[in-house]
Symmetry: C2
Subunit: 452 residues, 2 copies
Amino acid sequence: MKEIRCDVLVIGGGPAGGVAAITAKEHHPDKRVLLIRKEEKQLVPCAIPYIFGDILGSSEKDVMSCAPVEKSGVETMVGEVLHIDKEAKRATTRDAVIFFDKLVIATGSVPFVHPSMKDATKIEGVFTVPKEKETIDRLKAYAETRERIAIVGSGFIGLEIGLEFAKSGKNVTLIDGVDHVLNTAFDKELAAEAEKLAEEAGVTLELGEFVDEVLEKNGRVSGVKLRNGKVIESEMVILATGYKPNTELAERSDIQLTCYGAIWVDEYMRTQNHDIFAVGDCAARRDFITREYSRVMLASTSAAEARAAGTSLYKLKYIKGFNGTIAIFSTVVMDRAFASAGVTEMQAREQKLDIVTGTFTGMNRHPATIPDATRQSVKLIAMNHSGRIIGGQIVGGPEVGELINIVGLIIEAKITIYTLLSLQVATHPLLTAAPTAYPIVKAAESIAKKME
Amino acid sequence: MKEIRCDVLVIGGGPAGGVAAITAKEHHPDKRVLLIRKEEKQLVPCAIPYIFGDILGSSEKDVMSCAPVEKSGVETMVGEVLHIDKEAKRATTRDAVIFFDKLVIATGSVPFVHPSMKDATKIEGVFTVPKEKETIDRLKAYAETRERIAIVGSGFIGLEIGLEFAKSGKNVTLIDGVDHVLNTAFDKELAAEAEKLAEEAGVTLELGEFVDEVLEKNGRVSGVKLRNGKVIESEMVILATGYKPNTELAERSDIQLTCYGAIWVDEYMRTQNHDIFAVGDCAARRDFITREYSRVMLASTSAAEARAAGTSLYKLKYIKGFNGTIAIFSTVVMDRAFASAGVTEMQAREQKLDIVTGTFTGMNRHPATIPDATRQSVKLIAMNHSGRIIGGQIVGGPEVGELINIVGLIIEAKITIYTLLSLQVATHPLLTAAPTAYPIVKAAESIAKKME
């Protein structure tokens, strides 16, 4: 067994591991920081769907650059940690023992497959969407010669992959037990617009009915049977039914997990052993509003956690500014951008939050005669008594990708609709809505009026 | 004389007047709200430069829609108020007397011309850029048959008009006494990129030398002479040297002005007579940071002020959320967007603020192989001791139009760089920078490191 010594060991080369390692090295330049990752080439996770269509076209174009890590002075190695000894402070791989002073676990997440579907994954032609190049390449190669593809799960990954295959001319059916696509992030009236666009792009939607069985014929997948008996024939089935924390190593190493299988951490990403940190999808998150455990998995949240861990390894250097996890997403459906932050109206009502909603629809340029002007709709969700904004959803042009981050900041900074009434924004004919009809302010105004 | 009675009279049909009238009516539906404006057709002010090129191509395409005002139940009339009697609460036009209970003055701004240039404006072929259709149409018609155009002033309007004429194939020279374009909003390293793009588009820059004289030949303008003796021949000269509050009416009516000619108002836009409000460019503004008078003129600030006035006419309904004016701008130079919020580094140093700056350059999509990915640079300016962000500048793709509004909110909400380190943002391959390299967070991080 090879013996390796370092000060800070980071396990995992995804966004969380990379940022944790870089931050650790930048803040502790005298320490030896070592990052160990399972694969030589790591994919940019959220761009995986675009490997299947024209936008990227190949997994090689989605390989995460190692440059930032290498430039920072972090050492890297490829290997799989099989066990962590907390007391002896060492991690063991097949052929090496790595001694560390501080450990950051960033093992990410793996596809979640419903127990009833476990056997189906063994059938030829059935795929999940893990974040590793080899499987993605196999999935892409398999799809190459197939015409009919069924995708189970209408969340971001399922919908994005479905759209890319449909744009490439394949016959795609998107199946989900819930009534609307992007169910966790959008209320039904906004989801309906995404559904219309997806159908126009050639995606067939089968919503509101769960999958009963994945069908097999001659050792290959032949289709999907729904609970109502309907059969969707397909040459290939992709299970895009979410992800779960990849914590087998942690569990095996007796590091405490929470109820949903993620590693327990405090606000500074410390496990119960303060020399061991966990960041990213493998670490437990708490909802910003309810403080309950949250299963939201987001690379940007992972990066924020990784920065907190990297600066807090030897002492708590910075008080954490924002606490808790807000769900904050964006995507593109054909030429429209969809984005969401915080809770949806449906979630708020389920959680019995006393809320008021407001919407505004305008144009994303001004005047509306600007050639690329397109419709932009904002929905805001506020607490009824304080006026504090707890959620928002936007549909519009590509600017929506950053517009939602204004809503995210409003939520994190606990800003109320009243404060927003005097918000000052930069507006420009070629870039934004009109100053007189800035959608976030107008939606806040409509809530203020309803609250009277 | 016709006698008209209303509850709320709004003078001015620009963004400030329109929003004030609509807000007043929405919050006081039983009141009769009357808006009086000078011109039948009001232009969208910030889109005026795009009338001169292909983007709009005609002033008709830049006419502000009356629909929101009309739909709201506000009555409108065309006319010019010549005098206000504060005690009798009446406004007089050429042929009518309007009695009001509450008055909102929103007379906007008019071109500022340096006293030494006053005579030059009388020469044929010399134009200023007022926000009224007739002059804009004359300017456009005059330019139609002219080849060489000199523009004095390299602020937003001067640069934007220069670019539009240059794109139409005209020979444009942009002249300014300051060393860099967009001088009030950008530090020189960012301005330099705008200058390079403008020059590539065919605009000749004459910076760092003031205009001595506008030259005349045969009753028409023939060029501009600089202080260093250099002569720039031109068939047309546009003076884009800023705007000043349009407060002749207020002054004539004995409404108190501040030192720079704007109407004195409190935070709720009340003049010293609480039945009379002033909003928009004609009202005095105070800088967010220094609390000194600020000459920044922005339609979005006007809209925020108008909302404050509209809800505060009869009682202060909402505590004002944000106080003071932050300068917050965006523009487009060829295919790049430039935006700025708060103070520049240069202004901060002039005002002897103890600051630290941080920059980050990355890509606006991730991975960088996404087809429309382009470089995105963020510069942040923070107070050295608290880490509070007081300014930011961004160059990048069109998303910059909303990205700067995140910086604006950070400034207004008094958020520090430490808080930003755990900011959660939505990121998406087709819409934003990578979660691991979100430019606002990375720039904040670079400041944090410098402060140690």
